[in-house]
């Protein structure tokens, strides 16, 4: 039987080249790692500045508190001087008002104790 030369539908010698199935999208912009590093760097720098601000604010707060603490004796002395002056004025006023009432003791304590009670009411000048 004479053999007939049949052509079979087979791959060509060496085979077909690989099919390019990968999506051909050009890479645009920086890579994810670069973006992440950049964000971290900017945030870190920002936090450094923010912490400096926070420390400055704390220092200002400390200064404010200590300035008040140092002012306390002066303010207390001012208060004492003022309350003494007002008490004297109040006694004078009382004496003037009650001068016609017999047996009236000017400046007698209204409290049932011998101890000193700081005045709780001040008469302020009328506007």
């Amino acid at each position: 039987m004479a053999s007939t030369l049949q052509t079979q539908d087979s791959p060509r010698p060496g085979g077909f080249p690989a099919i390019r199935y990968k999506r051909n999208i050009p890479k645009r912009g920086p890579s994810g790692l670069v973006i992440l590093t950049g964000l971290t760097a900017i945030s870190t720098l920002g936090f450094y500045w923010a912490s400096q601000t926070i420390q400055e604010l704390r220092e200002l707060k400390r200064e404010r508190i200590w300035s008040r603490i140092y002012l306390v004796p002066m303010l207390q002395a001012e208060l004492d001087r003022d309350s003494y002056r007002r008490t004297r004025a109040s006694l004078q006023r009382e004496a003037e008002i009650m001068k016609d009432v017999p047996d009236w003791k000017v400046g007698e304590s209204v409290y049932n104790t011998k101890r000193y009670v700081p005045p709780s009411v001040f008469v302020l000048p009328e506007k």
Binding site: S43, G46, W49, A50, Q52, T53, I54, L57, R58
Partner: protein, 324 residues
Amino acid sequence: MLFFLLESFIILLPLLGSIAFMTLAERKVMASMQRRVGPNVVGFYGTLQPFADGLKLLLKEAVIPSHANKVIFLVSPFITLSLALMGWAAIPFAKGTALADLSLGVLFLMAVSSLGVYGVLLAGWSANSKYAFLGSLRSSAQLVSYELPLAMVILIIVSITGSLSFLQIVEFQQGVWLIIPLLPLSLVWFIIILAETNRAPFDLPESESELVAGFMVEHSAFPFAFFFLGEYASILIMSVLTSIFFFGGYLIPFGISSSPFLQSFVLGLKSSLVFFFFIWVRATLPRVRFDQLMVLCWCSLLPLGFAFFVLIICTLVAFEATSY
């Protein structure tokens, strides 16, 4: 009393004017992004268009559905607008220039903006219409959900600046604008403010072209105008909040000192840029689905907010930089 009323009007009148011109700015900017002309007939280059629109809404008949609960139906737009305007009391426009410089101003503003949900709910319910009711359910679900990551971001800012007063938050940023340390968080914030104001791409409960208007579908004429004003007032307040929290409020960069007028101008400029961002996003991005909206909030933004909160608190404690 009279002086207080005068002060309120000094803030409210220019505010309502700027809301009117915001609508015009939005239409003009979107038109040029879509290669159209935009409104250009009324007034010089269409500058009087918002007033023409307002006048039209004022003169139209307000249709009240016969089956609606009339009192709530008419009161709810008023609630929405007045709550949106109330937040402006605590905003500092320049150094020491606020209607009320509250030491807990941030809390006040968050409380007022949370109450804004009631306007939406009452409007949808009182109209006694299925569409309005469904719209209001979706809108309020969105608002309530996005309130959480919003509060988280604000909590982080408060923990860094150590104050709930707007003025002190702004003054803190003389050192550094908070957008620099909180750059990743600011992206989260920009997404949240879009969702919180029901803006594109998160405007699905009231998508203007397909669904008519969501919860305010039955409102027409002047009640509708109130909703419209309230919505834009909340957009404006979110823009101002963004510039206060991240862009140093009224401060001019590089520590340049200036007059109160210039400071408030700078605040307005920054807020306008943020509002431009709102329009830009609306002209660019397509709308998301409702499930995507919810998943984004509960599965991405909220965990991210918590993670940032823990990270930033730990950083501050570790470097002994807490401001209290």
